[in-house]
């Protein structure tokens, strides 16, 4: 595993996010065969000694197949899942060493956007109320004026103010995902963890959302951890990429370097399997 430090867009300051030898294990229930054979089953390491850093305003793509540990990693970063070892530091502060109000403040700085916006929005709340609530809970400046607060957020994600009075089910998939992003932005995060945030969307809407992520990075300076199983989607937005397999980061570096000269065989396999939209680039049948 080679970290491409010289090429990252770093200042001399501490990294926004530093992940150091993070480990998460899940105990496996023994199957019938193993129980009969009285076999011990080693715990499954979903995240296995993962280290990386992320700078301010940087977009880091995390790629990998299903079961590679991408999502578990994301959840460990904000302690939605408790890691078993290692450290996650935000501006040098270890989030595993804190609890209560301090943890809440750390979590405010890292917001998550999930794949299914329908599941992450309260169906009974209007969009305006949902956005305002997030701001109120974290006491954000400006949250005392609900209308202005909501309007600014909707503007950031390029939605009109009319959306504020709607319920989630009245919106299209793309609009709902914009609302999820707006809700993440409501608490002024420094890092957005986007876990397959565009995977369920149609390609035309997906392209809009990818542009939105790029706009937000530019306008707000927010860093984005962009998790996707689609390498091409990562190619569209990420400055750097980390490829995961079996819970480990097997390769990392600037996106163009990794894509042009993949070193690890898993990265090579992923790239070779990419279905190119140009029929002349068919994967040769082996």
């Amino acid at each position: 595993m080679s970290e491409a430090a010289p090429e990252s867009l770093g200042s001399e300051k501490a990294h926004l996010l530093e992940v150091d030898s993070l480990v998460k294990e899940f105990g496996l229930r023994r199957g019938l065969a193993e129980r009969i054979a009285r076999k011990e089953v080693a715990p499954h390491r979903a995240v296995d000694d993962v280290s990386f850093t992320l700078n301010r305003s940087e977009i880091l793509g995390i790629a990998g197949g299903s079961g590679s540990g991408k999502t578990t990693l994301a959840r460990c970063l904000i302690r939605l899942i408790e890691p078993d070892g290692g450290a996650v530091r935000v501006d040098g502060v270890d989030i595993r060493a804190h609890k209560g109000a301090e943890l809440r403040e750390l979590r405010r700085r890292m917001q998550m956007v999930f794949q299914d916006p329908y599941a992450s929005l309260n169906p009974r709340m209007t969009i305006g109320a949902a956005l305002h609530e997030a701001g109120k809970v974290h006491d954000r400046p400006g949250a005392e004026n609900e209308q202005a607060f909501v309007s600014r957020l909707l503007g950031l994600v390029q939605l009109t103010d009319r959306i504020a009075s709607r319920k989630p089910r009245e919106l299209s998939g793309g609009q709902r995902q914009r609302v999820s992003i707006a809700r993440a932005l409501a608490v002024d995060p420094e890092l957005i963890i986007a876990d397959e945030a565009v995977s369920a969307l149609d390609v035309s809407v997906q392209a809009q959302l990818l542009n939105l992520f790029l706009d937000l990075r530019e306008e707000l300076g927010v860093a984005i951890l962009f998790i996707s199983h689609q390498l091409a989607v990562i190619a569209e937005v990420a400055d750097r990429i980390a490829v995961m397999q079996y819970g480990r980061i097997v390769e990392t570096g600037p996106t163009h370097t990794v894509f042009a000269h993949p070193e690890h065989e898993y990265t090579q396999a992923l790239l070779a399997a990419h279905p190119h939209p140009d029929p002349r680039m068919r994967i040769a049948a082996s």
């Binding site: 149609d202 990818l210 042009a260 279905p275 939209p277 140009d278 680039m281 994967i283």
Partner: protein, 345 residues
């Protein structure tokens, strides 16, 4: 010149509070023997429904309200129960996006393949088992004797999809309907399944209707492609022509939205299509794409959605033809050469 499958003026409706909601609005599509045709489009475009209509399996409460489906000259719409059952059992196979959902979770996969062979092909139990194991082997499942006894939950998604392919090809159908067969799978598994379908097609001469939202998948497998939008086919032609010289503004916009590996290290915004695909309840007069089209002209709300020839075996429903004579689509950035290098490397 009769085709293996001919769909004409297909119309599929769902009951709505204020009159029927029309999901498929007059689709014409033909497949020749051994041909692989892709149906590509975004959600709600009607591509899956069109595919299901071939077997008259439109989900309730939807129904085929008009149009004909002919398979090898036979009118599928006019078939009685027994005939339809025979047709579904012997002539067509179908695989879906979610292979777990298509397999019975409490039966061993081998038993499910053997059942198909017993019921559809009249095999004895013993012969069915031997043949099922041979089928598992053919779809690339290692150690088929052991996998024969596995339950679906013991297999990966890719393996379940292979089992589904084994079941649906058990009776050597002449047509395979594949509805997003690789969407739920990892990219490496996807490549394997596409390769397997390609092999089956080469060996069996089986025609295939492949439904996908992913033009990459379509490009990998298809000879011809039909692009659907808002319940209509807006463009159809050979897959190379559609990719390199799309005529319909929607096809162009769709292709320009497809994320590409070439973008790596050259992060810039794509000219994304504004808005979103039409909802079922939206009734758009004239061209269904007009509200999102950047080449829209005054008469566009009155033109009929009708495919017109624009080149050899190439049809488009756009009478404006804003790209006629402009030649190949410029494919964003990077260029194909760099990518070709990578694939060969």
């Amino acid at each position: 010149m009769s085709s293996l499958l001919e769909i004409e003026a297909l119309r599929i409706e769902f009951p709505g509070e204020e009159g029927p909601l029309v999901a498929v609005k007059g689709v014409d599509l033909a497949l020749d023997e051994g041909e692989v045709v892709g149906l590509v489009g975004e959600s709600g475009s009607g591509k899956s429904l069109t595919c299901r209509a071939v077997m008259r399996m439109v989900p309730e409460p939807g129904s085929i309200s008009a149009g004909t489906v002919r398979f090898d000259g036979q009118d599928v719409m006019a078939m009685g129960r027994g005939q339809l059952r025979d047709f579904r059992a012997h002539s067509v196979g179908m695989i879906y996006q979610n292979p777990f959902g298509s397999l019975n979770p409490v039966l061993r996969v081998g038993a499910q393949i053997a059942e198909t062979l017993r019921v559809n092909r009249g095999r004895s139990s013993k012969a069915a088992k031997a043949e099922a194991i041979a089928l598992l082997d053919r779809v690339g499942i290692e150690d088929p004797e052991r996998r024969y006894r596995a339950y679906p939950h013991e297999l990966s998604g890719g393996m379940c999809q292979r089992v589904m392919i084994a079941i649906s090809t058990a009776s050597s159908p002449r047509l395979m309907l594949a509805d997003e067969p690789t969407t739920a799978l990892d990219v490496t598994t996807q490549a394997q399944i596409l390769e397997l379908l390609g092999t089956m097609r080469a060996e069996e001469g089986m025609a295939m209707l492949l439904v996908s939202h992913d033009f990459g998948v379509i490009a990998q497998a298809c000879d011809r492609v039909a692009v659907m939008y808002g319940g209509h086919i807006v463009e159809t032609g050979p897959v190379e022509t559609i990719y390199h010289e799309p005529e319909h503004p929607y096809t162009r916009a769709l292709l320009n939205s497809v994320p590409e590996l070439d973008s790596a290290g050259n992060v810039k915004r794509r000219a994304a299509l504004a808005g979103h695909p039409p909802e079922l309840s939206e009734v758009i007069p004239g061209c269904v794409f007009a509200p999102r089209c950047e080449h829209v002209q005054p008469g566009c709300d009155q033109v009929p959605m009708k495919l017109m020839p624009v080149g050899p075996d190439h049809h488009s429903a756009c009478p404006v033809r804003p790209f006629a004579g402009t030649g190949a689509r410029t494919t964003g950035r990077g260029g194909a050469a760099a990518d070709a290098e990578r694939i060969e490397a």
